[in-house]
Symmetry: C4
Subunit: 210 residues, 4 copies
């Protein structure tokens, strides 16, 4: 079959992805439970404060998904063309992103070991899928903008691996030590992730050219 046109540019793929990200992070709030009927006559501080777990998992998931979005944008800043395979790898990644409100809701309702592990597994899988996507485009000619050296591509890949690694490590921590330890892991790792990215950028700006 003749190729009568160049491989499609990723504009619509990116638009669809942004849409899925935007919706996934915005429907998270639907998991913050409203007080049920008895509370209807008077919302007290107790009711609002009683939702702290929902609010905590809202904030956590928002930041983690935000982080995936930043990484996803970084990937597609370097992708010039894409093919059916990239489209479908991206689709499976989006399927994983769009699923995240479910483990978030579970975690908000219950801090038991099953919810925590299920949450950590979901995040690990999502992050791993983004890594696979990057791995694929960086290994196949013609997908990346020119000027990215293989070393640089590998470095970026390592950066995308940080999030799934962090969540992956929290799974045994929750299973064999204590679910609360997983929460601590996530918080610490996330803070260090943002710090790392910001400082990398800072150092880049600090240097003149290199």
């Amino acid at each position: 079959m003749a190729t009568d046109r160049p491989p499609v540019d990723p504009t619509r793929l990116v638009a669809l992805s942004d849409g899925v990200f935007a919706i996934a992070i915005t429907v998270l709030v639907l998991n913050v439970d409203l007080p049920s009927e008895p509370a209807r006559t008077a919302v007290t501080e107790t009711v609002v404060i009683g939702e702290w777990r929902d609010v905590f998992s809202y904030v956590l998931s928002f930041l983690v998904i935000g982080n995936f979005w930043v990484d996803h944008r970084h990937v597609f800043d370097h992708v010039t063309v894409h093919t059916q395979r990239v489209t479908w790898l991206n689709m499976v990644f989006l399927m994983s992103v769009a699923f995240l409100p479910f483990p978030t809701a579970l975690l908000g309702d219950d801090g038991g070991v099953v919810s925590v592990v299920f949450y950590a597994v979901s995040m690990t899988v999502t992050g791993a899928l983004l890594y696979v996507l990057w791995w694929y485009v960086s290994r196949h000619d013609g997908h990346l903008v020119s000027g990215i050296s293989p070393d640089r591509a590998r470095l970026y890949g390592l950066q995308y691996l940080l999030t799934p690694l962090a969540f992956g490590l929290s799974i045994p921590a929750a299973l064999f030590v204590d679910p609360a330890l997983a929460f601590v892991c996530w918080g610490l790792l996330f803070v260090s992730l943002v710090a790392l990215k910001v400082s990398l950028e800072g150092s880049r700006y600090g240097r003149t050219d290199d």
Copy 2:
């Protein structure tokens, strides 16, 4: 009435469509039921595993809608201008896409013959509407980018027909044999669909020009 401007370009039509697709695939997850109050004190493996049917229909619908999106993008990669008729054909197609979370939810709650057939009918209708859209733009002058031969247009149309055909065939399978057979059909057909598309593209890249 004078035509003081060229027929509108499809930018906003595509943006609206991408929005509807993004939302339709993201609200699918809302159908994955959270455990109700009694489970609130402790989410057990049983509860999470008990949702397998919801998760299965989530994955299935995500991939099928993703496939419709890929086909829709393919159609509009070839459409340069569009008219009221194209807008409305597209609107009816989007109406069908946006409806899909409902049969998905039904299927997730219940695997009986009615849910299965209802799901298959919904998918068949949606796919058929996309085919009608393509059929319309390919038969009317001035809608397609130049350089698409009638043969090529017919070939593309056949490709869009694969999904509704597959779901259409599963209707009698579910009605007269067993609902479980429909599930098997969908899985097999979907895998072959993706394989076909990827291999078509592969062969295209393999050839030098043609």
Copy 3:
């Protein structure tokens, strides 16, 4: 205060509007009720068919909102710049569009006179707000692309008035005759609306220039 830059171009206003339209038409399906627990063991034809009213109001609202979107796109095809006033008129219009899933849900649950009138009022107000938006931009210099004569602008305005007029007329029909009459009105008027638009376009293409 100095104007250091030209009045903003409507790209983001249009993007926000498309987002609101896309979400409003997609969340409509959430109003189609799932069968409750007893039905969980077996979804029967009765259950699916019993939702006909929900499906009817889904289709109706989808088409009406789709029609508002077509009109909105038509308005902004002619708007080159926009100001705070246009932004806020558009915001109030969007507020009305985003509200439509509520009367749709009411109508789907109950076909009584209150639901029908509430639905008709909501649609009338939304359509009237779009007309006001057009009226504003067409009366104030510098908002429209050049080349639109006042006559043409008035003609477009009349076209946008058709939908609110149709729904407005169905209010007394429902109140003083029968709610069912309103349904008939809407159907007839909508069909004629689409027919009108398509035929206007057809005649435009038929003529050479004019």
Copy 4:
């Protein structure tokens, strides 16, 4: 690490933000409660009117979020490039925007002092975060389009402060006087805000150049 490409342009950041805004204002309507089963047989005026509080908080939140969107667009009309820090400041702002449907739902269900204060706090925080974003980009070289004087930047900052100030002031009003006073504050302040913006623009157009 070498900077092999310029700091990313804000197109996708803006697209994600528009998506979050569009969804946040559209899911507000899901908080308008449908009458429950007993009302199913007949929706009466009482039921519709009984939802006035939900409708009021819908309109209020829609306009306030709309106002944040207008301010956000104004900010990014002046931002040419952005960095990780801007991305994350924006992400935290979006997290606050996406959270707003929750206090809106609380306010719609109950007009007690806790709901009112919680709502006012949420709005104050969101507005303050937008101010912080502006403060950051206006203080760091290379983020803003050239031609914005420091005076002008400070003036814009003050404009963005109006909304959080208004909501901030209503907190003691609700706590120490009466929750109803907060409602009055919001209404008055919002009207004056819109009036201010429109009149500022008007005066700008009135002058020839300056």
